[in-house]
Amino acid sequence: MPGTIDTLATVECNDLIESVSTRSYGQLRLRLDRQIPVLPGQFAMIKPHGHYEPLLRRAMAYYRCGLGKKSLSVDFIYQILGRGTQMLAKLKAGDEVDFLGSLGNTFYIEAAHRHEALLVAGGVGSAALFMLAEELVRCKIPTKLFIGGAGRGDLCGLGDFISLLSSDQVISATMDGSYGEKGFVTVPFEKHLQSRRGEPMIIYACGPDPMLHRVSQIADQFAVPAQLSLESPMACGFGICVGCAVAVKAESPVGFIYKKVCTDGPVFWSNELHW
């Protein structure tokens, strides 16, 4: 990955997101004293510097970035789950972070020209879509976001998306009905596709596997191209461990080969994938 650097970044701020959810999230801003390309869909591998455990860095999608004079700041939204994200949650302004990035490919935005772009986000998966949404807006592509989560507090970045896209372009769904429609986000998403059947559309999605699977089926059904940003356990993030395998259709005795989510992805066309 040309342009990938392994460096120390400095924590500018790290805010635990107050929410009514049973889950917890944090938003982290890192400052790098170098500028590197940061593309929508890309990610970095990060870890608090000088801590011995957990060992491995964690893959985090770029949520947003900002250019300073000679510096760069990047934002991440993380859900606090296991050891890695618990350690991220302890970071304070001024702390140092091991940073490896930028990693991975990017969304294919050219394909969206003269299409309506439909973004589908589940839980913290929305983090991977915000820079994409910014870019689509910049390219003047009509963009709609379908965002789902367990409850209101799990719709990560909702406010930022609404400011960017305007509230009528953001359709929400929560499992507990605390915000937007009650149920899976794929339901209003499917309805929308139905109502616009035949119009040129393109889908970009990121979220839990079952959601992506359903998005992929719907995309198939309506013959709309879809790009999915995948997650997979990663040890290295830059292609040397082959831990992040995903089955991709191919002519082979089994009908697929394994590709690497970290360097061949994380963004794949949904019809490439061997589910």
């Binding site: 870890k47 040890a235 292609g239 040397i240 395998a245 082979s252 080969i257 394994y258």
Partner: protein
């Protein structure tokens, strides 16, 4: 970082750090371990391959292999389990697609080779014999011997010797045999492989482990069990090197949880003439570079003319 292979300048540290193992001259005793650096080239963006002592490639087989289903890795305390399933592009593709680029760097190239029968080892070696710029082979004998009931070659002194002897007959180049820690007595296996003609040993491969997701009640690895690597296994690896050093005369490469120069020194003092950095490449890609600098510093500070003087110098009398 200077990543242009052509401009490789001879490393000024090489007098302090150069070592010879099985007739192969390494600029320094720091290699990247098999399966943790791809085919070497994959690291070129992050480290200076010209500075590295050598590269052990991902395990190569006669034909390309697709590998195991995901999940393939799980992090554990101080380490990780992997069950990659020996996914690789095959020996032929390595020679044709990777080697020409890789050999432009001033580093030793050690393909790691495996098979499920003795014949498969030989076949893979025969393909690699055509490759120019290969310096030696590392035999991964931790594979199930499908002809002999599926027990690992590495777990049985006779089978380990058999595959070693067969490969030695087939190979022009030096053969380093990589041992597994999953045995009752590593000294027995080490001696048996030495007697069969191995030029050097590398040790250790991963320890067999398992992790279960308590929510789904399924193994976290699709393959059920996997290989434990990382700092967690370092004490086991140091012990194995120490025991092998006392059991054989051929040189040893130490592997297992090495992440810092202190780790590397510990293995050298235990008996390793070279070391390999594995899992650390994942979480600290420049670990090998820091270790090389650190070893040179150590030699200078301690007035060693060559790092070799430190090998096996652990003192036992208290």
């Amino acid at each position: 970082m200077n990543n242009n292979p052509q401009s490789a300048i001879r490393n000024p540290q090489s007098d302090l750090l150069s070592v010879e193992i099985a007739g192969i001259r390494f600029n320094n005793p720091v290699l990247t371990a098999s399966g943790t650096c791809g085919y070497g080239l994959d690291m070129a963006e992050l480290i200076d391959l010209n500075k590295l002592g050598g590269v052990c490639t991902k395990g190569l087989s006669t034909r390309p292999l697709g590998g195991n289903a995901p999940w393939r890795i799980v992090e554990t305390h101080g380490g990780m389990l992997n069950a990659i399933g020996l996914q690789n592009i095959g020996a032929r593709a390595f020679v044709e697609e990777k080697l020409p680029e890789l050999r432009r760097y001033d580093t030793r190239i050690i393909p790691n080779v495996f098979g499920y029968t003795v014949e498969e080892y030989i076949e893979a070696i025969e393909i690699l014999e055509d490759g120019e710029g290969i310096d030696g082979y590392e035999l991964n004998i931790s594979c199930p011997n499908v002809k002999a009931g599926g027990e690992s070659f590495a777990n049985d002194a006779r089978q380990a010797a058999e595959v070693t002897a067969a490969v030695k007959r087939a190979a022009r180049r030096p053969v380093i045999v990589k041992l597994s820690p999953n045995v009752t007595d590593i000294a027995v296996i080490a001696r048996s492989v030495e007697d069969a003609g191995a030029d050097a040993l590398s040790l250790i491969n991963t320890a067999v482990g398992m992790s279960i997701d308590i929510n789904t009640r399924r193994p976290r690895l699709a393959n059920v069990t996997g290989g434990l690597s990382g700092p967690a296994i370092k004490p086991i690896a140091v012990r194995c090197v120490f025991q092998a050093f006392r059991a054989v005369k051929i040189p040893l490469m130490g592997i297992g949880g090495i992440a810092t120069v202190e780790d590397a020194l510990e293995f050298i003092i235990a008996g390793a003439l070279a070391i390999q950095v594995g899992t650390a490449n994942f979480y600290d890609p420049s670990a090998s570079m820091k270790i090389i600098d650190g070893l040179a510093d150590y030699c200078r500070r301690n007035g060693l003319e060559n790092i070799g003087a430190l090998v096996g110098t652990v003192e036992l009398n208290h």
